[in-house]
Every structure is written in structure tokens, then in C-alpha cells.
Symmetry: C2
Subunit: 330 residues, 2 copies
DNA sequence: CTGAAAGCGCTAACAT
DNA sequence: ATGTTAGCGCTTTCAG
């Protein structure tokens, strides 16, 4: 099933078939119809491989992840997929697992396949190393950002998200806040703490307890709250750097007969459906708009592919505040 | 950067370069070294597109999902990716969303791209329609299975998993079991119920309460247990068709001052880390080995691509029982 | 408006 | 052991 078959059936030459189907050359209306009909009858689909060989573009972009497509990277990837499939661009995936050797291997494979561009993603606990300097195709980092300022990265505006969270808690009349997060070395932990403190400072306030760093788990959230309660410090709001932590915190409060949201407000981060909805009460939280992060990264990559220009630096996508009961005013 | 450049640099012809690099033709050791050196210096990577055009194989397989790569399909896809990347086979992804029009669109795109095979995946609540009869490449369904008996599908052995769960509960000395599941129309619900009853029947037992169908959520798990408690029926074990349901059930039991596992044992299904670990106590459960499902589907597809033969029918992959505290004997 | 011909980068017979 | 040649299926000048 090639263009030759269609040509034969329509009684024209191969090049006329090509022109008719691509719509690029000048073909008489009537012959065009004949060709289209023939192509249709034969179910002809132009061989994309051959086209790519000629044009040098594969309409394919390589996606490499460092975290096995987890909870954070999947939405990013879906956002990118959606954007790219509008333009008939396919994604080929591979899982670098954060191992530079594996990554290098896959990059080579991408280059052999002549992908038009590369998207790098990952959970983004830390800034990551640049892939390597001399790639012949544009590279965009999504969610996971490159420490190299000449690279282009798209990430959620974490800091502003945390500010929104804190401002919201303050706006419900609470002033005695506690901050619970995951590991201290994680980028997200540090940024979210700094942002929380910044908002408090603007109002002449500070956290009423030293920030609590642990792990990204419900268990830690529970434990941290118990610790705060034990410390005897008075508090009326808990800023959590993840929904898991927030859910754990909420549970521990309930167990200690402290009413959420009446006595203490709790806000999470992530808008992870299974956490925020199952929590009692459901959690107010910050949505990182990961879908948009992926879509924006894809758009930037597309533009770079088409124009050859890629604006370096880190682009931040707005987060969204999602109100639920855990911070309601009662 | 083509084979021609390498040839020129090594002072040989293009075909000799091809032979040297592919290792297929006979090339004198010394010239081969020269060619390898030249290729290395130039950083030459053979153009995969050109090779594909010639060989007719793209070393690419298309993956189409009906559920946006959710919690169940991601591990399946990762299992497949791992298997396939061993052989330098890439996956191109798209998201059909269960919409036949979209699916058709992507299938066409796959065919234009001359993928070597197609993998269909999805959460598998129901058996799905076959893609369409006359595809020129092999198709394997993973997790989501095709209702057409001529197709090849790979799924977890759900029924045996449920039997294991029930047998385990019985083995801990419990006999008065309750069954809580998601929507009744879901395939998984019905199969898991049937399997549970089958094991009970073997021992001359039956559920002590009518099976409870609702949704795949913690909330429903909580509600269902409350309902059972309210009914006044005596029970000492809860078979749940998902970890979310099991976690909700466990919570409701705790709230009702019923000790898990001392008074009632609870077993889940999925081995979803964030659920089983955060539950108090942690949940015993059944792992569906989704990674293996993906890997097995990939293997079957590879074989079909290589040999042209694809064994039709549904292949079931063993589940694994994961003991934790919620069913411990105390 | 249509067709012949060259070529994208590679492979594999077939010479030499 | 190496080189020459003819494609893989398409696009695109360039003639006619």
C-alpha cells in the first residue's frame, strides 16, 4: 500500500498523488477528486517514516522522566500529550530513574530516532543537572527544573501557592500557625516554608512552633501534630506542605478531640483527590496546575522546534487555591 | 552527520561503514577499527528513520489507554516500558479516553507511523470492544481485556487473588465474613464477589450479610461498615474489593470501637502504597502484579511481532498476597 | 496541470 | 574485503 498503488489506480503519477494528498502542488480539481477517491478506496495512509526521512522532522518528541511517572509527573505528561496530540505530535517515553547513565542511553536513542525535541520531567525535589550542552534539539524541563540558567524550565509557582495558602488561613482569622512539611532537603519544603514565613512576617507574625520536617506521609503528619500538641504551644492553624501530611495532621487533631476547622484550620498542598476527599473533613488545598505545567512546557518546546528560539529561564505557572471544609469559617 | 561523513573520514565507502557498524558484513579488523574511530570522533548515530524506512520495522509500539494513565494503568505501562526498552523499542503514547472516535484517530496515526505493534490498556472495569478487525500489526490488551476471543489479553488473576484473600481470612480463624466492593456493574466487583463466595461455599459457609456495592472510595467503605454494624449482624472479617474501601472500613470499625485485627480482620485489594501504609493498622491486601501484567503483555507483543503468531485468549497473571497487620492473628 | 528524476540516509545484493 | 548499485516511500524541483 504505497502512493504508487494510489497513482496506478487513479491513472496518474506518484508525484501528482503526493501533491493532491498534501494539497501543496497545483492539481486540477477533477484529478484531485479521482486521487482522493482512489486513496480512500485503498485505505491509503502515507508512510510517516518516509515523509520524516525526507523532511527531517519526525513529529515526535522524547520524554524522559526521573521518577517513574509518579503522581506528580503523570499529570504533567498528560498535559503535554494533550497539547502535542493536537498537532499530531507523538511522545515517546522512557524512564531514566534519575540515573545519568540510563538517561544518556535514552538521549542517544532519542537522537537516533531524530526526535524533534526533548521534554524532561520528574518530581522535582531538587533542581537537576542539565542534560548536556550540545544537543541538536531543543530541551524543556517540566516540573523538574534545570539548575543551568540557559535551559528552559516550567514549574508550578510553588512559592506563590504557599503564600496563597497562608494568606487564606490568616484571612479566616487564624494567626497562630504551625508548619509541617516533608524532608528539609527537598526544594519544595524549603520554598514553601520561606513563603509561609514571608506572609506571616508581612503581618508582623511568625510561626508559633519551629517548622516540622519529616517525610511526605500521613504518618508523619500525625506524628508532627502530636508533637506540637505535646509541646503545649497554642495554635489555630496548620500549613502543610502536602495533602498527605495534611490528612495525617487532621486525623491526629481529631483523635485529640480538636475540632477541624472550628478550633484549628488545616490546609494541604497538591489537591490529590484521594487524599483531600477522603480526609475528614475534606481538605482545603493548593492545586499545582500540573496539567498546565505540562501543556506550557509542550508549547514552549513546540515553539522552539518551529522557530529555533527557546527562552531560557524558569517559567512559573499559577497555582490555584481550592477551598474545602478544613479551613471553613464556622 | 551521515554515514557518508564517516566513510569519508575513514577513507572507505558508505556500505563498508554500514557493514562495520552493524557488524553484519565482513570487514577487515583494521578498517573496522578505523571506521569505529571515525564514527566515534564524529559522534555518529545512525539515522533510525532511514533504517526503518528500509527494514520496514520502526522498533516502536503504540500504546493507547482508555483511562488517562491512572493508578492502575501506569504500573502496567511501566512494566511494558521496562521490557521493551531492553530491546531498544520505544513506546508512543496516546490517550483515547475510551472514546472510539479518538481511538480510531490514534490508531490511524499509529499506522501511519508504522508502529510494529499496539498495546491497549485501561482500568478494565469492563471487557472492552476489540479495536477493529483488520489491523496490519499485532495488538495485545493489557489489564483492559478484549471481549473478542480472537484477541490476546493479559490481566491479573483477579478471581484467584480474591480467593487468596478469603482463604487467608478464613485461615486466621474467622468465619463470619462481609464483602464490600465498588459498583456492582464493574467486572472486578462481580468477579471478586463470586470468588469470595466460592471459597466460602467450599467450607459450607456464606457471607453473613448481603454483599455491599457502592463506589471505589474510602467514604463508601466507612458507610458500608456502618450499615453492617447497624444491621446488628455478627461478623469477624471484611473482604474488601479495594484498598480504599478497606481503609474506609477500617476507620469506621475503629470509630465504632471495634478492634482491627483483634475483633475483626480486614483485607484489601490493590496494594496501593499510600492506602495500605497509612491505614491504621496497615492493610493486608492482594497485589495485582500490574508490572508483570505489562511486562507479559509486552513480551507477547514482541513475540507476535517477531514470529507473526499471537496466542489468542486471556492470559492471567498471578496475584500476590501481602500480609500486614489488619488480618494478623492476635 | 502533470510527470520524470533526483534524493532524504541507510541496507543488502551483487560485483570486483 | 571492499565498493557499486539499486532501492525503502515519499517530496520536490524542474521540464514538458
Amino acid at each position: 500500500m504505497t502512493a504508487g498503488d494510489v497513482a496506478e489506480r487513479a491513472g496518474v503519477s506518484i508525484s501528482t498523488v503526493s501533491k493532491a494528498l498534501s494539497g501543496k502542488g497545483a492539481v486540477r480539481y477533477e484529478t484531485k477528486q479521482r486521487i482522493l477517491a482512489a486513496a480512500d478506496e485503498l485505505g491509503f495512509q502515507a508512510n510517516h517514516v518516509a515523509t520524516s526521512l525526507f523532511t527531517g522532522r519526525t513529529n515526535t518528541i522524547g520524554v524522559i522522566t526521573s521518577d517513574q511517572f509518579g503522581r506528580l509527573t503523570v499529570p504533567v505528561m498528560l498535559g503535554a500529550i494533550e497539547k502535542l496530540s493536537e498537532r499530531e505530535i507523538a511522545l515517546v517515553l522512557c524512564d531514566g530513574r534519575g540515573d545519568p547513565i540510563r538517561e544518556q542511553h535514552f538521549i542517544d536513542s532519542f537522537l537516533r530516532r531524530r526526535v524533534d525535541g526533548i521534554l524532561v520531567t520528574g518530581a522535582g525535589e531538587f533542581g537537576r543537572d542539565s542534560l548536556r550542552g550540545d544537543l541538536p534539539v531543543p530541551v524543556v524541563y517540566a516540573m523538574s527544573w534545570s539548575r543551568d540558567e540557559n535551559d528552559a524550565s516550567v514549574v508550578p509557582d510553588d512559592a506563590e501557592g504557599s503564600r496563597m495558602a497562608t494568606r487564606h488561613l490568616l484571612s479566616t482569622g487564624r494567626e497562630k500557625l504551625v508548619f509541617i512539611s516533608g524532608p528539609q532537603r527537598d526544594d519544595a519544603s524549603r520554598k514553601r516554608l520561606a513563603a509561609t514565613r514571608e506572609v506571616l512576617a508581612e503581618r508582623g507574625l511568625d510561626l508559633v512552633h519551629a517548622p516540622l520536617f519529616g517525610e511526605w506521609s500521613e504518618r508523619w503528619g500525625r506524628q508532627a501534630v502530636k508533637q506540637v500538641i505535646l509541646s503545649g504551644v497554642e495554635f489555630d492553624g496548620v500549613v502543610c506542605a502536602s495533602d498527605q501530611v495534611a490528612r495525617g495532621a487532621t486525623e491526629a487533631l481529631r483523635e485529640a478531640q480538636i475540632d477541624v476547622p472550628r478550633q484549628v484550620g488545616v490546609i494541604g498542598f497538591d489537591n490529590w483527590d484521594v487524599m483531600v476527599e477522603a480526609s475528614q473533613p475534606p481538605l482545603s488545598t493548593i492545586d499545582m496546575s500540573l496539567h498546565e505545567v505540562g501543556a506550557a512546557a509542550a508549547t514552549a518546546l513546540l515553539e522552539a522546534i518551529e522557530t529555533g528560539r527557546l527562552e531560557p529561564g524558569i517559567r512559573r505557572i499559577d497555582c490555584e487555591f481550592i477551598p474545602r471544609e478544613s479551613t471553613a469559617v464556622v
